[in-house]
């Protein structure tokens, strides 16, 4: 059983920033990620709103720089190493990996992030990977000169719709309300883009396919207008995220949607467990807030391991 001061579950911006801070404080640190580190930015072509990069920076590049920085100060990174369970042993936390390794940690920082939500409509499961996607960076190029739909109304949906116009000849942006939630300047770019066709007050009821691929989507109105069916070759869903809090749900309090409840410094309801990034119930889910909260959680974890028991 390996022993470590601070175990960080999740190697995205929150986890890597936490690791940077704990390592600089000379606390032994290990970061686990089920895949490659970097988090959601690894599949984001261009990050424009992370401070310090006026021309923007490629997502994978930003992820790589964060990794390098944490490693420089001594953080151990265990990529492609998933945590299967989190248990307790006295005052310590015991982590078991899918490779049956065990780690004992004095403190935990949960930075596991969130996964894209699915619509849960007929045809979605059937045509996943055959026209239905949650990653425009990954699959956009497959729809060169074709027609795609983007479902959603927030920053992700609108930005990815704009991104997809680089490939598709038509991008149908479908949103259930009559105004977008996305940041104003992104909305402006969307409205200026001739390839984007907006479908207001529409939901998706069915994803229809032909010959094993997506061919159309049926869009009922949220305002009691008749259904609309549009022919599309691909459907990209950006309808929110689900937090990956399962590992510690038995220990910490989460809100109704499953996001881990924390104070503004990342303290959860379980002494010794801290959380940062998209998995928490924070309002703004961005790289910069994940990084900022990662640092705060690190600070609290460092404080905790020094004071978790008092010697008499």
């Amino acid at each position: 059983m390996q022993e470590v001061d601070i175990a960080i579950i999740g190697g995205g911006p929150a986890g890597l920033t936490a690791a940077l801070y704990t390592s600089r404080a000379r606390a032994s640190t290990v970061v686990f990620d089920s895949g490659m580190t970097g988090g959601q930015i690894v599949t984001t072509e261009h990050v424009e709103n992370y401070p310090g990069f006026p021309e923007g920076i490629a997502g994978p590049e930003l992820g790589r720089l964060m990794l390098e920085q944490a490693q420089r100060f001594g953080a151990f990174i265990e990529a492609f190493n998933s945590i299967e369970s989190v248990g307790l042993d006295g005052i310590d936390f015991v982590l078991k990996t899918t490779e049956d390794e065990e780690y004992r940690a004095k403190s935990l920082i949960i930075a596991t992030g969130a996964v894209p939500k699915k619509l849960g409509v007929p045809g979605e499961a059937e045509f996943t990977g055959r026209g239905v996607s949650w990653c425009a960076t990954c699959d956009g190029a497959l729809f060169r000169d074709k027609v795609v739909a983007v479902i959603g109304g927030g920053d992700a949906a609108v930005e990815e719709a704009i991104f997809l116009t680089k490939f598709a000849r038509e991008v149908h942006l479908v949103h259930r309300r009559d105004e977008l939630r996305a940041t104003k300047c992104i909305q402006e770019r969307c409205f200026e883009n001739d390839k984007i066709i907006l479908h207001w007050s529409r939901a998706v009821a069915e994803i229809i396919g032909e010959n094993g691929k997506v061919s159309a989507i049926r869009l009922p109105s949220t305002k009691a207008d008749p259904d609309e069916t549009i022919a599309v070759d691909g459907v990209f869903e950006f309808v929110g995220v689900d937090p990956k809090s399962d590992l510690v749900k038995h220990l910490v309090d989460c809100n109704e949607a499953g996001f881990i409840k924390t104070d503004h410094n990342g303290i959860t309801t379980y002494p010794g467990i801290f959380a940062a990034g998209d998995v928490t119930d924070s309002e703004l889910k961005q790289v910069v807030t994940a990084a900022g909260r990662g640092a705060s959680a690190a600070f609290e974890a460092l404080r905790y391991i020094d004071a978790r028991l008092c010697t008499i």
Partner: protein, 108 residues
């Protein structure tokens, strides 16, 4: 609101813990110990909710070094569960109410 947690001293230890007819959850604490202070509201709640099933007591180790030494308490917070005067469980460190209830469930 009346305090549900019983104050235990070296002098009263025998009578209030050893001779208790109910199980006793005894918290070893000190005012300067951060995690101990964190346990205070948890213990209050447990004491109130489990009244009649288990007695919750607290012993200030600064003022009562005798009992602390007797049970080899080196770090606090430490919680000991006593049944018929014998220690049946030792819990070290702060924990939320949910876990504490799980740990003492065999005796309530």
């Amino acid at each position: 609101m009346a305090e549900n947690v019983m104050q235990v001293t070296d002098a009263a230890f025998e009578a209030s813990v050893v001779k208790s007819d109910k199980p006793v959850l005894l918290d070893f604490w000190a005012p300067w110990c951060g995690p101990c202070r964190m346990m205070e509201p948890v213990l209050e709640e447990v004491a109130g909710e489990q009244a009649g099933k288990i007695v919750v007591g607290k012993l200030n180790v600064d003022e009562n070094p005798g009992t602390a030494t007797k049970f080899d308490i080196l770090s606090i917070p430490t919680l000991l569960v006593f049944v018929n005067g014998e220690v049946v469980k030792k819990l070290v460190g702060a924990m939320p109410k949910k876990r504490l209830l799980e740990e003492i469930s065999p005796w309530v």
